[in-house]
């Protein structure tokens, strides 16, 4: 069982969106997942560029995901 699964909240650690919160939407293969967040656009992302958090979120809709992340965590580690 791996930590990276649909609904997992993560922090991106690479690129222009580094330090921002996102949620795993689906697992593409053993290297890549599709992520989205309030300040992260929907895109494919390497698992090596993610740091998983203990929390999980229900995948209801995009607005729901963004609202919950903004309420619970904020936009990112670096404001």
């Amino acid at each position: 069982m791996s930590l990276i699964e649909p609904g997992r909240v993560c922090i991106k650690t690479a690129g222009r969106e580094a330090g921002k919160y996102c949620v795993v939407l689906e697992v593409v293969d053993k290297n890549f997942v599709i992520v989205q967040g309030p300040k992260v656009r929907k895109r494919r992302c390497n698992i090596a560029h993610l740091e998983p958090l203990p929390e999980k979120i229900d995948l209801k809709s995009v607005e729901y995901i963004n609202r919950i992340i903004l309420e619970k965590f904020g936009e990112g580690v670096i404001e």
Partner: protein, 89 residues
């Protein structure tokens, strides 16, 4: 040629003048590589004089990620430190 201009850092270009005479033009040497402030590694960046860097678009002058000064590896370490601080709470 002046002794100071014989350095291999200074590029020489042979030009033909309007009066059909060959002259040597000297180009200014390229500046040193940029280095990471944390680990001291070389950073891949435009190796141009400051006046030429100012002519570039903003995106080509610096990386778009949160910490532009250190190298990408040290930036990831920095973000992981911040991330660990979040986890404790």
């Amino acid at each position: 040629m002046r002794r100071a201009l014989r350095s291999t850092k200074i590029k020489k270009i042979v030009k033909r003048t309007p009066s059909n005479r060959l002259t040597i033009h000297f180009r200014k040497p390229a500046p040193d590589y940029a280095h990471c402030g944390v680990c001291g590694k070389k950073i891949v960046r435009a190796r141009l004089r400051p006046s030429e860097i100012r002519k570039l678009p903003k995106v080509q002058r610096r990386p778009e990620r949160p910490f532009p000064e250190p190298c990408p590896k040290c930036m990831r370490e920095k973000i992981k430190e911040l991330f660990r601080a979040v986890i404790k709470i």
